[in-house]
């Protein structure tokens, strides 16, 4: 009995010790670091933002580590990319977090894809023989800063709803963010004017929004079907296509393997561009800095200086 009482006392001590008052008014968890960076820009110092995935992780395949459920347990707002991108791991975290605020359908759950003008929405029935198809549309939308602004607007509205007393701050932050992105956007577009109409080869179907913004065309993908790893006959075909179309750029995210991409780029020959998979949010990178890095990589590629 005595040991039980001691245990209870220890537990109580630990609880009171760790349950220190939170400084931030709103605790936000974003599934991906890009979303976290946008949320941080809108929330500023009124929010505490945690990203579940690292930028070096393929967002389709993240381990549902229990400590991520812990972050969700304490969250007021969960922001997801939606469109089934995180379907392989986020639902089990949501259920395990015992926090009904962030369950799908409640105000603490925000699907950022709602604010995006979607690309590649299937117009016909889909099944898994077509590979890892996203039936709601292409989920890789934050490569396009215009979609970034749209998402920021949606996040601002939700933050103001959940935390009305700081609504003015969120509004001001959104205006600042929008202005900052739009100012940078003009420069980015000028620097990448040469991409207009250029044929490009990509690893996965991640370029839909980027090409819509910058005006290049993705003529082939290294994956024969979304999510299916490249195979020799398909690569031979892609290579032939790349040569025929005089492709200048081969684009892949840093979380994809680089052997095949390197080979295809060297054979065409084209510049290989490794684009960062996400914002390095943990080390303080902002969304604008992240797009800046993406643009400068593309710019280098245009100048013929790929990896």
């Amino acid at each position: 009995m005595r040991s039980l009482r001691l245990f209870a006392a220890l537990l109580a001590a630990a609880v009171s010790f760790t349950a220190a008052p939170a400084r931030a008014d709103l605790k936000v968890v974003a599934s991906l670091p890009d979303l976290a960076a946008v949320a941080k820009a809108v929330g500023g110092d009124k929010v505490e933002v945690v990203a579940l995935a690292l930028p070096t992780q393929d967002p389709h395949f993240v381990d549902a580590k229990p400590n991520l459920a812990l972050a969700l347990n304490r969250a007021d707002l969960l922001i997801t990319a939606g469109l089934d991108l995180e379907i392989g791991w986020l639902p089990s975290l949501q259920m395990g977090a015992r926090n009904n605020r962030i369950l799908t359908g409640n105000p603490g759950y925000l699907d950022a894809s709602r604010f995006v003008s979607l690309q590649e929405v299937p117009t016909t029935a889909v099944d898994r023989s077509q590979g890892d198809v996203h039936p709601g549309g292409n989920p890789h939308y934050l490569y396009d800063p215009r979609q970034g602004i749209a998402v920021a607007k949606g996040i601002e509205a939700r933050m103001s709803q959940l935390d009305a007393k700081n609504a003015a701050t969120y509004k001001a932050n959104l205006a600042k963010f929008t202005q900052e992105v739009q100012a940078a956007q003009q420069g980015w577009e000028k620097r990448l004017a040469g991409l207009k109409g250029a044929p490009v080869i990509a690893y996965h179907r991640t370029t839909a929004y980027l090409q819509e913004w910058l005006g290049f065309t993705t003529v082939a993908f290294l994956e024969p079907k979304p999510g299916i790893p490249p195979n020799p006959s398909h690569i031979a075909q892609v290579l032939a296509q790349g040569k025929a179309r005089k492709v200048k750029l081969v684009v892949k995210e840093d979380y994809y393997p680089d052997g095949t991409a390197k080979l295809v780029a060297s054979k065409i020959p084209a510049a290989l561009i490794v684009i960062p998979g996400g914002t390095d949010f943990r080390n303080g990178q902002t969304y604008v800095q992240r797009i800046e890095l993406l643009v400068s990589r593309l710019e280098q590629g245009l100048a013929g200086k790929g990896e």
């Binding site: 537990l11 609880v15 760790t18 349950a19 690292l54 070096t56 395949f61 381990d63 549902a64 580590k65 229990p66 400590n67 991520l68 459920a69 812990l70 347990n73 392989g88 791991w89 986020l90 089990s92 259920m95 395990g96 015992r98 009904n100 979607l118 690309q119 590649e120 929405v121 299937p122 117009t123 198809v133 039936p135 065309t217 993705t218 003529v219 082939a220 993908f221 079907k225 979304p226 999510g227 299916i228 790893p229 490249p230 195979n231 020799p232 031979a236 075909q237 290579l239 032939a240 296509q241 040569k243 025929a244 979380y255 994809y256 393997p257 680089d258 052997g259 095949t260 390197k262 054979k267």
Partner: protein
């Protein structure tokens, strides 16, 4: 033709021709206007951009055999650096609760019109097996048990959110001998103080493996300690479970459940097949567990569990069985750079004490396994299992009422290779040697198993 008045054949032909041409015109007008002006293309279609050449441009320069060889080499190198999901799964808790691993989840409203109330998936496990022994000691209900083809299971998972307060999950297993409700339970969604309650028929969360279904297993069969201690189906029953996520700074989950202590295949160390009546709360099986998670680094994680279960056994009035267990799951998966490598170490040890008339029987059992995913589609693993005979208080080998033949140590070593075409299918080759202490010679076995998952996309648990 009864609806038509009689006509001469020529008139009929004219009528038909007119009808045909109008329907053709109608069809044309339909197709002419049907594709709405849209900039979107399905993610499935070949290159979505206009002006793309046909898939196989005939005028493109052909590739030399050397170039093909080079392509294959580069692909080989890549396959070891492509990230892939881990295999195991569960919906309710990130520390591997119940469930098949293919938690049925809501499909996006884009294709369901937002009215998806029920989600289903099927898992099919098939194996072809070869055993050196005439009577192989395969205790699990989903193990391959005979030479030749085996239907391990056809599992149907149905689940859905009921309302803002409850979620429903069920796993119904079809075998060649009938249909069985393995699990059917309700989980609360909206309890305060980090509490969650499950009620219904469910697998208890004793240890790591017990609460999972074959889809989440790295090996084709289950460790023999599970079927020896709990029964062929694993430890489950009708009952109620409460769990609490503590507010400590690291992940600590505390679980307690009370379940029916009956069932030869689900609670054999307790009431088992005997038909005892519940007379007091002590006639239930009580299970408790603590799960802790330590993110040692971005790449290295440790999940550690302690479990205990106690319940009545039929050997005499107020005779009880107690089972204690611990499990570790250590996973190395580099995520700070592109890599498909995963190395997982998993082990469980169980200690069982049974009160018998004028004696106390105790025995040990457990397994340790390591699985190395060395490329995006391939993994290999080794598993070691052991089980001691039940000993009396004086340390002599006891006359075990459940397994009278178990008079010596048993050890089994299995090795396997897994190939995943996608995360929805896997092909496994497994070989084992079973050193059964009470048999004259070791047993050998080999399995080739295929598993497919179809239906709603499931979420993977840690």
């Amino acid at each position: 033709m009864s609806s038509h008045p009689r006509r001469n054949p020529r008139a009929l032909a004219v009528v038909l021709a007119v009808q045909l041409s109008t329907s053709a015109a109608w069809a044309q007008s339909q197709t002419g206007q049907s594709p709405p002006a849209s900039t979107t293309a399905p993610e499935t279609a070949p290159p979505p951009t206009p002006g793309t050449e046909a898939d196989t441009p005939s005028d493109a320069p052909a590739l030399s055999p050397e170039e093909m060889a080079e392509i294959e080499k580069a692909l080989g190198a890549d396959s070891s650096t492509r990230a892939r999901p881990s295999g195991d799964t569960s919906p309710v808790s990130p520390t591997a609760t119940n469930d098949s691993g293919v938690t049925p989840l809501r499909l996006p409203s884009a294709i369901t019109g937002g009215t998806s109330f029920l989600n289903l998936s099927f898992i099919l496990d098939l194996a072809v097996a070869a055993f050196s022994s005439k009577e192989p000691l395969q205790g699990g209900a989903h193990d391959p048990t005979q030479n030749g083809f085996n239907l391990q299971q056809l599992e149907l998972s149905i689940g859905s959110v009921v309302d803002p307060y409850f979620r429903f999950d069920s796993n119904i297993v079809f075998s060649q001998f009938g249909v069985e409700i393995e699990e059917a339970y309700v989980t609360t969604l909206d309890l305060p103080a980090n509490l969650q309650v499950r009620a219904g028929q469910f697998l208890t969360r004793f240890g790591r493996l017990n609460s999972t279904h074959p889809h989440a297993w790295d090996f084709v069969d289950q460790p023999f300690v599970m079927s020896r201690v709990f029964g062929a189906e694993g430890n489950r029953g009708l009952g109620v479970e409460g769990s609490w996520l503590t507010p400590l700074p690291w992940y600590v989950e505390v679980i307690g459940s009370a379940t029916d202590a009956k069932g030869e295949a689900t609670a054999r160390s307790f009431f088992g097949s005997s038909n005892e009546r519940v007379l007091s709360p002590l006639d239930f099986q009580l299970t408790g567990a603590v799960k802790q998670f330590f993110p040692l680094s971005d790449d290295l994680s440790l999940l550690w569990g302690l479990s205990a279960a106690t319940g009545p056994n039929p050997t005499g009035y107020r005779n009880h069985t107690s089972i204690y267990g611990t499990d570790v799951y250590l996973k190395f998966r580099p995520i700070t750079e592109a890599s498909a490598q995963q190395l997982v170490l998993q082990a469980e040890v169980l200690y069982r004490r049974r009160q018998a008339p004028e004696d106390l029987l105790s025995d040990w059992g457990g397994y340790a396994q390591t699985v190395w995913r060395f490329s995006n589609r391939w993994a290999t693993g080794v598993r070691y299992e052991f089980g001691t005979p039940a000993k009396t208080e004086e340390g002599r080998v006891a006359n075990d009422p459940l397994d009278p033949e178990w008079i010596a140590d048993r050890q089994r070593i299995s090795a396997s290779v897994t190939f995943w075409p996608t995360e929805f299918s896997r092909l496994r080759l497994q070989a084992a040697t079973d050193r059964v202490g009470w048999r004259a010679t070791p047993d050998y076995s080999a399995f080739l198993a295929l598993e497919v998952v179809t239906g709603a996309h499931g979420a993977h648990a840690f």
